[in-house]
Symmetry: C2
Subunit: 243 residues, 2 copies
């Protein structure tokens, strides 16, 4: 399992949410949760001199013998590491990004859906599909052809003033920023639905945006041949989550 | 990607098959294939003093920065390692094994199907479902409920003298021993079909067996409440592949 966490001015603003997701992942994969106070102390140590950094926590089942059978009492491997803040163009946040549709499908498996586990070969293959630096992100669909997420972001669209985001019960990563967007929408009375999102619905949306813990929210200007203008719902939610 | 290879008396009898599968995996994952002569020299070195051993080759995309984007020129990590031969009871091979049905489903994704890649969380969760040492292996079904394979073996059944094994176009690992069984069946005129295998068909089969490169062939005596007797087709193929 892993968590990718924004570290700002001596703390991780969404620390509790990341820890809750890590806890849920540990439960689903039958791993003992690392003690939160140990993780917090390690995070403060590796980010001690950083105003702005990406903090990554990796938890694995640890070392074992050959074969798939997990050790009875796994000794977790825990990695807490700091990365430099990525330098994305300001325009991504202000004017929005260009995306493409990826060919690599996401497999559906309710047992793994939502988790931020480390079996990410699908995302690696999807991200390898393009080199064009004008394309900031790719849309991934499941094996049924429905829209699920970006390679490193969750995706939202607005159609007739309804906010819509894919259901992640069968695949996809349930992002911390997705949760924050949903809560902010609810708090502002923006009607929202979590459900099936077809490509056609995405292509003909009024507004589209993507989000994750590091980039927060990027409006989408283009997906392949389809163009979008950052609209009022995207702007309102963007202000809300970066407040 | 990885390969698990039987090493006997100074060589790997199915070396070329393992290398062909590794090559196919490298092509599908866009990895440069390690030079076969280098792998062969390393295999001979790590197994130099072994009459009987498990040789494992692991190939990864190597080290890179944060994020899913693969490096333009990956420097592969290559691991060639020897493990002791596993000590399974003789009865597994002679009288057969007991199996159980696993609850953890296999996700369907044609892009990854057949490959012996390292994203094996499903197998780890499936193998963690039981502790009973009387159960040697578990049957895994896909998310549609069809039978695909064992956690570490491929599965075959015989019904009305027809040999049947699941199609691996959507998920599963295409094992080297599965290939050998299929070729031996063809060479002996045993009619064979690769296709969809429902649980009901498996439960009511005349014979069932599993296979992999290390165990070769184990007849199946029991899957849950269903019992089987090792039959003539299983015996004939068992003799053929261990010849």
């Amino acid at each position: 399992l892993f968590e990718t966490i924004a570290w700002r001015d001596g703390k991780a603003p969404h620390w509790q949410r990341h820890l809750r997701r890590l806890q849920r992942g540990c439960e689903r994969l039958h791993l003992p949760m690392p003690p939160p106070d140990v993780l917090a102390a390690e995070a403060r140590r590796v980010c001690a001199h950083s105003k702005l950094a990406v903090l990554k926590i990796i938890v694995t089942r640890g070392s074992g013998g050959r074969g798939y059978r997990p050790p009875e009492h796994p000794e977790l491997t825990r990695v807490v590491v700091r990365y430099p803040w990525p330098e994305y163009p300001d325009s991504y946040r202000q004017q929005g990004i260009s995306m493409r549709m990826c060919d690599t499908p996401l497999a559906r498996n309710p047992v793994l859906a939502g988790l931020k586990h480390l079996n990410r070969l699908e995302q690696v293959l999807a991200r390898a599909e393009w080199q064009d630096t004008q394309i900031a992100e790719g849309v991934m669909c499941d094996t049924d052809g429905d829209v699920i997420e970006g390679t490193m972001t969750n995706i939202f669209l607005v159609q007739d003033e309804l906010l819509l985001t894919p259901d992640l019960g069968q695949c996809g990563v349930a992002g911390v920023m997705r949760e924050i967007v949903l809560e902010n929408a609810a708090a502002r009375g923006i009607p929202c639905r979590i459900g099936r999102v077809s490509r056609e619905v995405l292509y003909h949306a009024d507004e589209v945006f993507v989000c994750n813990s590091i980039v927060e929210l990027w409006p989408v200007r283009r997906i392949g041949q389809y163009h979008y203008a950052p609209g009022p719902v995207t702007r309102e939610l963007s202000r809300a989550i970066s407040a």
